[in-house]
Symmetry: C2
Subunit: 350 residues, 2 copies
């Protein structure tokens, strides 16, 4: 992840392969793992989505393929330049940079798709090529990490340095966890809850590294959490709003998403959703809102989803359907500012 | 701002005043500066919106007023508790906390409005009471600040400590700028541009403190920029997308918004919008998109807006109307990754 060499070498050998074909007067052909729904399978052993064995062909002799072929080679060369210059780019910048080269992306969603093609082809996540989305989440806790980005190589940072937390950007995502006094990772959905857990020193009380997910967490944040889990042995707990969307934020961290089926090392199968569960809503008499049609439809979808096949998750779905209400994680404020820490989280984490 | 005493004393004397009335068997009455549109005036001297002299009455003997009166006193007592405990709250948490007290907010927008009432009544911005919205922007640059928040009092932080930047949360907003090697503040609209300016060391080249606005910037960010401007004498430059919305992000930093007319010390009249101007779009042949109906309508509104009365701004509006296209700040990527720094910003800032 941190050493750019393997990624550069993979890109270079991709280029070599194309040049070789041209020298031999053959049209270059690329084989890319197929990521259509029919080729996304849920691996029961590893408990996450993976791609099956089907392959797509990009054949430069086929007029239907040649544009995507050219776009893919451009993205690969852009990625190689980034790596060689120790630079990063947002997906948006990549799209705009392409305009000078006439590779004809009609929108950013098209260039994003080609970036995913490159991920499938090479087996590297785009972050390994220095390509990131714009959104950030935040982190705070007693972990010391060592930066690897240019200009900061070898510098260490204590993740308690700023009481507002630190953004999980390219620099932190590629840093190495060195040591930690923490015993768990506690990921929370909202920024308000994150700030409250810092201020009330809940991180100290629970010996927790706090992560603010900001809704569906960016892949970089999931990777950083996994890194803390694997390198430092910290178990991961996830605290979200009590609704189908919050539950699914947790599920994606645990079991992955179909969109990332081609990326390895992103899931945390042993991570635990601590709430707000529908059972909590009842037990704590939380202030609720009625579920919308969209919420109920989402529950139906999730009940069919292979990731929710275990009885524990089916139970949550049934309970939500029964109570037909939802509650935000802030809802515990009704019992006073400290209740969520002193009572709810204390009980859940112990 | 940093010392909670003046705010606590103001809240306490508000409470005293109410109790005094009750002791004298009178219904308490509060007078609040009126913030209806008719009472928002543009102060040509200070170049920003202020409230006129009209006052609203909250009379607790009036059944129409009594609910808002009670809500206001609850918000005031909540704020006082926050200050006394050196704690902060998001606007959302405040809304949920109210549920335990039966003060009957029907939605967060209602409690937000009462928080604004308290601001008008006391003359303190909600940040002085420890009440913040959830959104954050980021900052990076050679400034040393000293924290004042509980647990970090007196600790200093160098704003280059994290190459991903630091979030402008409650802790940073209440910190004191101590010293800086920087010569300007450069505020940019998007996270992608912010990251690029850090990575390419443009902050060093321009001796700039970089601020990521993330769209319309939260008040806390505007206040921090103003603080750097006033305490350290740094001029402020603003770099946004080239469209009516980007231009208005800059204008609000410069001249304020009607929504904040009751808050002082928030505008930076000498701040400068460097682009992307409509003239830049033409001069640099930037890749553009056609303006939508909403964009054109927005231009019409702005052309009538008193903040845009100077010829320079009217010209920008006319130019936009003429070209009927817009461009994002990322659009310079078409000329290569470094063009925006080496050519565009170099020229604009010098």
């Amino acid at each position: 992840m941190n050493d750019p060499k393997p990624a550069i070498e993979t890109l270079a050998s991709l280029g070599q392969k194309i040049i070789q074909s041209l020298r031999e007067n053959r049209y270059p052909v690329l084989e890319i793992p197929d990521r259509r729904t029919s080729n996304i399978v849920y691996d029961e052993n590893s408990n996450h989505y993976v791609l099956g064995s089907s392959r797509s062909i990009r054949d430069s002799s086929n007029v239907k393929h040649v544009k995507r072929f050219a776009q893919l080679t451009w993205v690969a060369s852009f990625a190689k330049e980034l790596l060689q210059a120790s630079r990063t780019s947002s997906l948006r910048d990549l799209y705009y940079s392409s305009e000078a080269f006439g590779v004809g992306f009609s929108s950013q969603s098209e260039s994003d798709r080609i970036v995913t093609d490159l991920e499938c082809l090479t087996g590297f996540p785009r972050e390994s090529f220095g390509i990131y989305p714009e959104e950030h989440s935040s982190i705070y806790g007693e972990v010391v990490m060592r930066y690897t980005v240019s200009g900061y190589e070898g510098k260490e940072i204590d993740l308690t340095v700023s009481p507002d937390g630190l953004p999980v950007g390219p620099a932190l995502m590629t840093a190495e966890p060195l040591e930690s006094n923490a015993e768990i990772v506690l990921a929370v959905e909202s920024g308000g809850m994150f700030s409250r857990l810092i201020e009330t020193k809940a991180w100290k009380r629970f010996n927790a590294v706090l992560v603010q997910l900001g809704g569906q967490s960016p892949r970089s944040t999931r990777r950083l959490m996994r890194n803390l889990h694997v390198s430092l042995g910290l178990p991961v707990y996830i605290f979200t709003d009590g609704d189908p969307w919050g539950m699914h934020i947790a599920k994606v961290i645990i079991s992955g998403s179909a969109n990332s089926a081609h990326i390895q090392d992103l899931t945390i199968p042993h991570a635990k959703w601590i709430g707000v569960t529908p059972e909590d809503i009842v037990q704590y008499s939380l202030p609720t809102e009625p579920m919308s049609d969209a919420d109920l439809k989402r529950l139906d979808e999730l009940s069919q989803d292979v990731r929710y096949s275990e009885p524990e998750w089916q139970n949550h779905i049934q309970q939500f359907k029964k109570i037909r209400t939802k509650a935000e994680q802030q809802a515990f404020s009704r019992f006073g500012m400290d209740y969520v820490v002193d009572t709810y989280l204390s009980k859940k984490i112990s």
